[in-house]
Amino acid sequence: MKVSYFPGCTLRTKAKDLDFYARKCAEILGVELCEIKDWQCCGGVFVSAKDEVASKLSSVRALAAARDEEQPLVTVCSACHNVIKQTNSAMQNDPDFAAKANLYMSQDSNASAPYNGETEVYHYLELLRDVVGFDKIKEAVKNPLTGKKIAAYYGCMLLRPGKVMNFDDPENPTIIEDFIRALGAEPVVYPERNECCGAYVVLEDADSAKKKSSKVADSAANHGAEMIVTACPLCKYNLEKNTSVVPVVYFTELLAIALGVKEDTDAE
């Protein structure tokens, strides 16, 4: 299966691992990630104001590109996913916004047909769950992570707003836990897993971010987690910067270890 792929800014720089292993694992699982040509940064965060148009255009371009290829659009980074899915929803449900965005887009040198929200947007995890299937992943696992107690950290961006993301139950998600189980490890369920890490406020109020990150990491540790997995570079940064109780890894790395693509440096 071929899908359009939007890596995002951080995956090219600080979060290369998140990207690298996503591609490697996709190959093994029979999914071809076709990187969108000339993609532009999503902006890192969705600005909810209805009159913010220009800041959402990079997402619309990516969506339109995927539409032109008749492929769903896949992202790995939680933030890109959140921005692109919310933008897509606005294109579908806010005709005023869609009209303005299409007007901007029509000025592009290689403008394609007006975009009206036709593309389906998947997070890589959704791809694993809904397209590949966790059962199939379980079969593909070469190095099961047996005995490992791993805490899933969703943060806020994968789940909310729930009606738009439509990713999982925002109050009691299970997708990453199921993913962890498929890799042979034991998921640790803890109540802070869907709370915000402090996000971009770290530049504004480092203490606030520290407080939030600590709460998350402590909660995971208290529930016996040996490791936290996340899909978001910013979550990883905040958790690692502010806490040291539990190591934090990207979910794609974990997948790569289980599939035998990556050496488990922690093993033994």
């Binding site: 995002g8 800014c9 951080t10 720089t13 600080k14 979060a15 940064c41 902006g43 890192g44 965060v45 969705f46 600005v47 909810s48 104001a49 209805k50 009159d51 913010e52 800041s55 980074c77 933030a79 806020c156 789940l159 909310r160 707003p161 729930g162 009606k163 925002p170 109050e171 709370e195 915000c196 402090g198 996000a199 971009y200 406020v201 770290v202 530049l203 504004e204 109020d205 606030s208 939030k212 570079p233 910013l234 990883k236 940064y237 690692e240 910067k241």
Partner: protein, 130 residues
């Protein structure tokens, strides 16, 4: 003619798409908010104060920079009010004013470390400056 407060209110409501009259003042947003203690004015107050036109107070408060946009209040509100969107709209009315950027490019290098992801810079710029 609308006076300044009324204009501001109307703009905030239009940008955010929020109808504060739907609020039943249950306070679940503030019961939910992870940044409650960092804020001078809390999510339910944002909704109420915009409704009553007490907007300047909000614009002058640091509270507008404390919201994480984590959308927990949006998801849990039983009335579909979406307080986070109103916080964002109030903040935008401030930073869209000339010279009112809350974070400028010059301030950034001092805030960085080796691990800072690009995403953080992008989103902080998006949230705090125009």
């Amino acid at each position: 003619m609308l006076n300044k407060t009324e204009r501001q209110k109307e703009q905030i409501l239009r940008m955010s798409g929020v109808n504060p009259l739907k609020c039943m003042r249950c306070g679940k947003c503030s019961g939910t908010c992870p940044s409650y203690d960092e804020m001078e004015y809390h999510p339910h107050q944002f909704v109420y104060m915009v409704e009553t036109g007490d907007i300047e107070t909000l614009r002058n408060s640091d509270s507008i920079y404390k919201c994480l946009s984590c959308f927990a209040c949006v998801d849990r509100c039983p009335r579909g009010v979406e307080p986070a969107k109103i916080v964002e709209a109030v903040r935008l009315t401030v930073i869209r004013e000339k010279g009112a950027n809350h974070l400028t490019a010059n301030e950034i290098p001092a805030l960085l470390d080796d691990e800072t992801p690009q995403q953080l810079l992008m989103s902080a710029m998006r949230k705090y400056s125009k």
